[in-house]
C-alpha cells in the first residue's frame, strides 16, 4: 500500500480534487475529515461524471460548477476498506468482488493509514511470481496427493539449487496440478534431468511450451 496518500477534505472543491488527481497521476482520493477519519472516497470517474459533457452546449448555470461544488456532494460515502494486517489475497478479493480500483486502509478507529491500488496488488503478484530475482523458470506437473511437492523440492535441495519462488496452481491440467519454480541457476539442465528421472513431467519454461521440444522438431 501507499502510506500517507494524497487526500482531500469533504469541504474542498471538485476543481481542487481534479487538480490533485492530475498532478499526482492518481485515480482515487480518500476523503478525510477531522482527526484523520476516513469519510468517503472520490475517484476521477466521480469527478468526470460531475463535469459537463464536451458535446453539449455550455449551460450558463453550470459555469463554475467544479469551483463551487464540494467533494462531499459527489464522493462515495459507503467506502470498502481493509486493515493493514489483512492478507494480500483478501485485499485482492475485495477489489475483484466490488469491481473497484483501490481500497483505503484504515485502523480500528477508522483513521486513514494508506491506500492499496490495483497496481500495488500487481507489483505484489510480480514479486510472488518470482520476476524480480535472477532465475530460470520451470513448470512441474504434480499428482494431487500428499508429499509430491516435497519430493520435487527435495530434488532441488539435493543439488543445492535455490528456489527463488514457488507457486502451486490449483488448476488441474490432465488431472495434475502445476507448480511453477523459479530456480536460481543459469544452468537448469541437471535439475530437469533429475526431476524427470524421478518421474515428474517438466516443462522448460512451461508444460505447454517446452523449448527442448522446439529444438527437437
Amino acid at each position: 500500500m501507499t502510506r500517507d496518500p494524497v487526500t482531500v477534505g469533504p469541504d474542498e472543491t471538485l476543481s481542487h480534487a481534479l487538480r490533485l488527481t492530475r498532478e499526482h497521476r492518481i485515480r482515487h482520493l480518500p476523503v478525510v475529515g477531522g482527526a484523520g477519519t476516513l469519510v468517503g472516497i472520490l475517484s476521477d470517474r466521480d469527478i468526470r461524471l460531475a463535469m459537463p459533457s464536451p458535446l453539449t452546449v455550455p449551460d450558463p448555470e453550470r459555469v463554475g460548477f467544479l469551483e463551487q461544488t464540494p467533494v462531499s456532494a459527489v464522493m462515495t460515502r459507503e467506502v470498502v476498506t481493509c486493515a493493514g494486517s489483512d492478507p494480500i489475497e483478501d485485499a485482492a478479493k475485495l477489489l475483484c468482488r466490488h469491481r473497484i480500483g483501490a481500497v483505503p486502509v484504515t485502523d480500528a478507529a477508522g483513521r486513514l493509514q494508506g491506500i492499496l491500488s490495483e497496481t500495488d496488488i500487481l507489483s505484489a503478484v510480480v514479486q510472488i511470481l518470482g520476476g524480480t530475482e535472477p532465475a530460470s523458470r520451470l513448470e512441474v506437473a504434480l499428482a494431487d496427493r500428499p508429499g509430491e511437492l516435497a519430493r520435487a523440492v527435495a530434488i532441488l535441495a539435493e543439488r543445492a539449487v535455490n528456489v527463488v519462488s514457488v507457486l502451486v496452481s490449483p488448476v488441474r491440467v490432465q488431472g495434475d496440478k502445476t507448480v511453477i519454480f523459479h530456480v536460481g541457476t543459469i544452468d537448469p539442465r541437471e535439475v530437469i534431468g533429475a526431476l524427470e528421472e524421478a518421474g515428474f513431467r517438466v516443462g522448460w519454461p512451461s508444460l505447454e511450451e517446452d523449448v527442448r521440444a522446439r529444438l527437437a522438431e
Binding site: S136, L215, E217
Partner: protein, 391 residues
C-alpha cells in the same frame, strides 16, 4: 588502426571447480587459436598485459561490503550462510580461493582495454577474459563475481566524462550491467538475448527501459528460441545504427558472449559463427561513423568450450583488429588440442552455411522477432530522440 588484445594467462585462475561449465580452458584455446592463425603478430596489433583493478575502481560499481566479503570468503573459504547472502557459495557461483585477486585482474583487464582506447593508444581493445555481465552491485550471479564491464564503463565515465554505449549479444540478458546503470542517462545499455521467458536470468524484456533520469537508456531485444543467424543479424543491422545515431556515444563497449551458437549446451538460439563476424563488422562500421571507431570488447558466456569458443572469439578479434582470418584451422593447432578434446574439433574457422539443419518454424520465429523489434523501436526511440519529453 591499432588494436590490442589484453592477455595474461594468470586470468585462467578464474575457475570455480573442475567440472564447472564456466571453464577457463576456453580462454587458453581461444588465444592459442588466434596465435596459430597469425592474428597476434599482424601490423598494428599488440598483446598487452592487464593490471588488477584497484579497490576504488571496484567500489564505483560494487558495494564496499560486498568487495570485503569476496576478499574474506576467498581467503578463509566458504562460510555458507555468509556466502549465500552475497549470491556466492551456490552451484553456479561457488566460492574459490583467491577469488578476489583473479576477479580484480579480470576487471583490471577490461579497464586496461578502456585506458588504451580512451588514450588513443589503440582504437579497439579486446579483453577475452572479461564479460562478467551478471554480477550486480552487491551480489554475485550466473558465474560472475565482479562486473568488469561496469567497472570499465564507470572508469570511462569518471576519468574521461565519456558517454558510453554498451552492447551485449550474449545469449543471456546482461542484467548486471543494466542494473548498475539503470538510472544513468550517460550510459546506454542494449542487450540482445534469448527471451527471459526461456532463459536465465528471466529478465530483459522490452519494457525495461530504465528509471528516473535513465529512463529510455536501457534497451532490450529479447529473441525467440531458434532465432538463427539471418533474423538476428537483420534485427541488429536495423537497430544498432538508429540507436547509436540517436545517442551519439563517445565509445562502444561490446560484450561478445558466444553462447548463442547452436552447439552451446545452455541455450537455444541456433546461431553459427557468421553471427560473430557480422555483429563485429556492423558494430565497427557504426563505431567508425559515430565515435571515431572506438570499441572496447570483451568475451562473455560460451559453453561449447572446444568446438565454438576458440573459433568465435578468433573471428571477433579478427574483425575488431581489421584482419582477415584464414578459414583453415592450422593442423598444428588441431594436433595440439585434439588429444585433450572430448569432441572432434572442427577443421574450419567458419561454419559451413548448411552445417546445421534449418528450423521448421523459421517464418514464425522471424515474425515474432520483428514484432519485438518494432515494439522496442516504438517505445525507446522517441525517448532517446527526446520526443517523449514534451518537445
Amino acid at each position: 588502426m591499432k588494436s590490442a588484445l589484453i592477455w595474461d594467462p594468470a586470468v585462467l585462475a578464474y575457475r570455480f571447480r573442475p567440472d564447472h561449465p564456466f571453464n577457463p580452458k576456453r580462454l587458453e584455446l581461444a588465444v592459442s587459436l588466434m596465435e596459430s592463425l597469425g592474428l597476434l603478430d599482424g601490423e598494428g596489433v599488440s598483446v598487452v598485459p592487464p593490471r588488477p583493478a584497484t579497490d576504488a575502481e571496484l567500489h564505483r560499481v560494487h558495494a564496499p561490503e560486498y568487495v570485503a566479503a569476496v576478499k574474506r570468503l576467498g581467503r578463509e573459504g566458504a562460510d555458507t550462510r555468509e556466502a549465500w547472502r552475497w549470491g556466492l557459495g551456490t552451484d553456479d557461483t561457488p566460492v574459490f580461493p583467491g577469488m578476489h585477486e583473479v576477479t580484480s585482474l579480470v576487471c583490471g583487464a577490461t579497464i586496461r582495454a578502456a585506458e588504451l582506447v580512451m588514450s588513443g593508444e589503440a582504437t579497439r581493445a579486446f579483453n577475452v577474459a572479461g564479460g562478467l555481465h551478471h554480477a550486480h552491485r552487491a551480489r554475485a550471479s550466473g558465474f560472475c563475481v565482479y562486473d568488469d564491464l561496469a567497472a570499465a564503463i564507470a572508469w570511462m565515465r569518471e576519468e574521461h566524462g565519456a558517454r558510453v554505449m554498451y552492447i551485449d549479444y550474449d545469449a543471456h540478458h546482461g542484467d548486471g550491467v543494466q542494473g548498475i546503470f539503470y538510472e544513468d542517462p550517460e550510459v546506454l545499455t542494449l542487450s540482445i538475448h534469448e527471451s527471459g521467458r526461456f532463459l536465465f536470468p528471466g529478465t530483459g524484456f522490452v519494457d525495461e527501459l530504465g528509471e528516473g533520469d535513465g529512463y529510455g537508456y536501457s534497451l532490450n531485444l529479447p529473441l525467440d528460441p531458434s532465432t538463427e543467424d539471418d533474423s538476428w543479424i537483420d534485427l541488429y543491422g536495423r537497430l544498432l545504427p538508429e540507436v547509436a545515431e540517436a545517442f551519439r556515444p563517445d565509445v562502444i563497449v561490446l560484450q561478445n558472449g558466444c553462447d548463442g551458437h547452436t552447439l552451446d549446451p545452455l541455450t537455444h538460439l541456433r546461431a553459427t559463427t557468421r553471427l560473430y563476424e557480422e555483429t563485429v563488422r556492423i558494430t565497427c562500421e557504426v563505431a567508425d561513423r559515430v565515435c571515431g571507431g572506438r570499441v572496447v570488447a570483451t568475451g562473455g558466456g560460451g559453453y561449447a568450450v572446444w568446438r565454438v569458443v576458440p573459433r568465435a572469439w578468433s573471428l571477433v578479434w579478427a574483425g575488431l583488429s581489421g584482419q582477415t582470418a584464414p578459414d583453415r584451422i592450422p593442423l598444428e593447432w588441431l594436433n595440439r588440442w585434439q588429444g585433450e578434446s572430448p569432441e572432434l574439433l572442427p577443421e574450419r574457422l567458419r561454419d559451413e552455411p548448411d552445417a546445421f539443419p534449418p528450423v521448421p518454424r523459421r517464418a514464425e520465429v522471424e515474425a515474432t522477432n520483428l514484432r519485438t523489434l518494432e515494439s522496442l523501436r516504438r517505445q525507446a526511440l522517441p525517448l532517446l530522440r527526446g520526443w517523449g519529453m514534451g518537445f
